[in-house]
């Protein structure tokens, strides 16, 4: 009977009947008591590891490109993390560790990066990785090749690179030197971009990299298959074969989970997590996103700091967490996700506690004693943000602000809201590379990605200092200061770093959370 009750719940969910907090939401806490509840960054290790085996991982979006330099979707990068590596790669604690390069040296002035290549690293096609391949790959992703492929996505942070050269040191080891035109001590965070064979033309159909798994096949809208790379220089993966199976949406994937067809599913909603039991453990981590109600600082009335601060006071963030995520998630107070612990400024989280009276007062000061009307633009493909918007609309009513939600398609959001900056407020989640500057760079007044049109000279100055700073402690201090400036200016209403729920079959162990959006399958194994 109990099983059928769950099935019925699943059915209701699929029908789109939102089982909102209140009464029903309360049973959701059952997942707390389940074993295998890992915390952020933890690996659940139970039982003895078995070598070999195949698994199926459920994902919900198709790939935007298999060519690592042409893909930007987080959903693509998290999968391709298993196939490609850069000269360095992130580990589970957010450190950058040597990968294709065995050693990295940064000159004291921060203008030259020297990489010593690891010996004997092989591409999946069997060829040895040479310095020429590395130079080619880095030049390609920095847009420095003679013929530029317009589909290659060049991160603006790499524009400080002036030249990349190959050479050999005294002992015959291959060396790649990256020279910069302006100082940047965080370039390493961007040099995780994939190393691929020089002049290999078929990357988009049959990708070749150096990672622990190698590509086998891809069927659009169906699946991507990879198998163990037997020549991998590092710790060999346990599993023989991993199939990433593309489901139409989380509801279809959830049905597959109920039927036991998939072994790992990384995008459970909190409701689904509370309904699932039996054959799965629910692993808990952070999504490493900055979810905020972003305000257009150039648009009336949000060009007035008092209005922005009033918005911050009027939004009850703990209540949002309760309503949309069963209370899970980490509150933030500025544009930095909690998972990036080293740089996260915890002091600003509670700068604007929920306070209706104060919000009304600030609004009256700014000349809006009766509130105003505004719109919240939300990309319709992100249900989580849509839910958040609905809660915010209700909360803003308390201070007299009438908000209306405008759902737009993702391409429309990109063109009109993000690029065109034609919006009042919007809710999205921003992710970033493993460099603190990448998280904060869009707030520079001249940045093309500054869709908030935020302008603060002090911020620009400190940002420039932070990126050039070679002393680690000083750098951390600068970044914390930047977050404080954003919070004081109430640049946006920063809400949370959402919780992430992953269903992992009880037969498996070793699923690892990263402070980045990746699904590392090389650490997953079957338990004896």
């Amino acid at each position: 009977m109990k099983k059928h009750g769950k099935l019925l719940l699943a059915l209701l969910l699929i029908l789109g009947i939102s089982v909102f907090a209140g009464g029903c939401g309360k049973d959701g806490n059952s997942s707390d008591g389940q074993d295998g509840d890992g915390t952020d960054g933890d690996t659940t290790v139970t039982g003895e590891a078995v070598m070999g085996g195949d698994i199926i991982v459920g994902i919900t979006q198709d790939f935007d490109s298999l060519d690592p330099h042409k893909a930007h979707a987080a959903g693509t990068q998290e999968v391709m993390f298993n196939i490609f590596e850069g000269v360095v790669k992130p580990d589970k604690d957010g450190n950058l560790v040597p990968a294709v390069a065995s050693d990295v040296a940064i000159s004291e002035d921060g203008m030259t990066y020297t990489f010593t290549l690891r010996e004997g690293v092989k591409f999946h096609n069997g060829a040895l990785v040479t310095a020429e391949d590395v130079v080619y790959s880095l030049k390609r992703s920095a847009g420095l090749l003679e013929t530029v492929d317009p589909e290659v996505i060049v991160t603006s942070a790499l524009s400080c690179i002036s030249d990349i050269t190959a050479s050999k040191d005294a002992s015959g080891k291959e060396i790649v030197t990256v020279s910069l035109s302006t100082v940047n001590t965080e370039l390493l965070g961007y040099l995780t971009s994939a190393i691929i064979p020089k002049d290999y033309e078929n990357q988009a159909n049959a990708p070749v990299g150096t990672g622990p798994f190698k590509f086998v096949s891809y069927t659009p809208l169906a699946s991507l298959v990879m198998e163990k790379n037997p020549d991998y220089y590092g710790t060999a993966p346990y599993l023989d074969k991993v199939t990433f199976k593309i489901s139409a949406d989380t509801n279809t994937a959830f049905l597959e989970l109920l039927a036991g067809n998939i072994d790992i599913f990384p995008y459970l909603t909190s409701e689904q997590a509370s309904q699932l039991s039996g054959n799965y453990n629910i692993e808990n981590g952070t999504a490493n996103l900055v979810q905020a109600l972003f305000l257009n600082n150039a648009e009336k009335p949000f060009d007035d700091i008092r209005v922005r601060q009033a918005m911050c006071y009027a939004v009850n963030r703990p209540e949002i967490l309760d309503m949309v995520a069963d209370g899970k998630g980490t509150l933030i107070g500025s544009n930095m996700f909690a998972g990036f612990a080293k740089y996260f400024n915890a002091d600003v989280v509670d700068m604007y506690p929920y306070n209706v009276a104060k919000a009304k007062e600030l609004l009256a000061d700014a000349g809006y004693p009766d509130g105003f009307e505004m719109s919240i633009t939300v990309p319709s493909n992100y249900q989580f943000h849509v839910d958040t918007a609905q809660v915010i609309v209700e909360q803003l009513k308390q201070v007299g602000i009438t908000a209306k939600i405008e759902l737009v398609e993702w391409p429309t959001w990109l063109e009109e809201t993000y690029r065109g900056r034609k919006y009042q407020t919007t809710i999205v989640g921003l992710d970033a590379n493993l460099a603190p500057s990448d998280v904060l760079k869009r707030y520079r007044s001249t940045a093309s990605s500054n869709f908030l049109s935020y302008v603060n000279e002090e911020f620009d100055e400190i940002f420039a200092l932070a990126i050039a700073e070679t002393d680690d402690a000083a750098k951390v201090k600068y970044y914390k200061q930047l977050q404080e400036i954003l919070a004081k200016d109430a640049a946006s209403v920063y809400i949370q770093d959402p919780a992430s729920y992953v269903a992992v079959s009880k037969k498996l162990s070793g699923y690892t959370f990263y402070p980045l959006y990746v699904q590392d399958m090389s650490k997953v194994y079957y338990v004896k």
Binding site: P150, P220, A222, T252, P411, T412
Partner: protein, 313 residues
């Protein structure tokens, strides 16, 4: 002969209009292919360069005619997202959609014709009343809901199939067909209900006509009257309806494809639209348009086969 020439010309005209309208629609709605392709981190110059290389900066008529000249040669270009020829992408999805259509149409015909006849044999009888009640209910059930119910009952409770575990025809054809039965049922059931109702009304109308009395008075059994005389005449409205059903099923059912995780035409089109992948969208629309036109053409031909009074001039 003149009829066929006229038909072919109108077919081409309609296809041309469909392509033009799709093309214009995509100019009107917001969203930029190059921006969707490159995402939030790309610099405006990079987006501009990609627009240039995709030919998106050319004038509208120029772009439409270059697309049209490709389409005439059967070349719809490469998908922006998948980088593969559109024809290849479409034909790979097509096998799923076509098999789904074949299975569901087979079910519709095999089930609804006998049921419709049983109903009309004794109007108001027990069988008729039960079937009418059931079909009335099923007619009101949307295919996606039926899909979920089927998944729940046959997939999760009875475990006759594994929900979402679509098997490609290339891997295991038997497994593929077995899996496809369930989405086919989800598509077929509401259509069966409608076909039964159509057939019943049509047969009952025919039964009141004079030729039926004549056939009976000549000593034909009730069964012979029904099968040999009435059915043929009663089929005409049903054929029209079946034509619509076939075109509908071949165009791909997005909802059923989603519920059953099928990589069919419908999902490909939706993905392409949300990525602003114009070549795929255009080709998909041309495909659907052609299916509808061709099926209608065949229906016209069938009319005159069934009813010699219909003469095509």
């Amino acid at each position: 002969m003149r009829y066929y020439i006229k038909k072919v010309i109108s077919l081409i005209m309609v296809l041309f209009l469909i392509m033009l309208l799709t093309f214009i629609a995509f100019q009107v709605i917001p969203g930029d292919s190059a921006l969707s392709r490159l995402g939030v981190d790309a610099e405006p110059e990079a987006v501009e360069a990609l627009r240039e290389s995709l030919g998106l900066n050319k004038s509208l008529p120029e772009r439409f005619f270059s697309f049209l000249s490709g389409a005439v040669r059967g070349d719809f270009g490469n998908s922006y997202q998948y980088g593969k020829p559109v024809g290849e992408l479409l034909s790979a999805r097509l096998s799923v959609t076509v098999w789904l259509a074949v299975l569901s149409i087979f079910m519709i015909i095999a089930v609804s014709v006998p049921l419709g006849l049983v109903c009309s044999r004794k109007e108001g009888g027990v069988a008729d009343r039960i079937i009418t009640m059931v079909t009335q209910t099923l007619m009101a059930v949307p295919a996606f809901f039926l899909g979920i119910v089927i998944t729940l009952i046959f997939g999760l409770v009875l475990e006759w199939f594994a929900p979402g575990a679509y098997i490609a025809p290339g891997e295991d054809f038997g497994g593929f067909l077995r899996y496809m039965i369930f989405p086919a049922v989800a598509i077929a059931v509401p259509k069966i209900a409608m076909t039964v109702k159509f057939l019943k009304t049509s047969v009952l109308r025919e039964l009141k006509l004079d030729y039926v009395r004549t056939a009976r008075s000549k000593g034909n059994s009730e069964r012979a009257v029904l099968w040999r005389h009435v059915l043929k005449n009663a089929l005409i409205p049903v054929i029209t309806f079946m034509g619509m059903v076939i075109a509908d099923v071949l165009a791909g059912s997005i909802v059923v494809e989603k519920v059953f995780n099928l990589p069919g035409i419908g999902r490909l089109l939706i993905t392409a639209i949300s990525n602003r992948d114009y070549p795929v969208v255009e080709a998909g629309v041309v495909y659907i348009g052609s299916v509808v036109l061709i099926v209608n053409f065949i229906v016209d031909l069938l009319y005159q086969k069934v009813d010699p009074r219909v003469r095509i001039k």
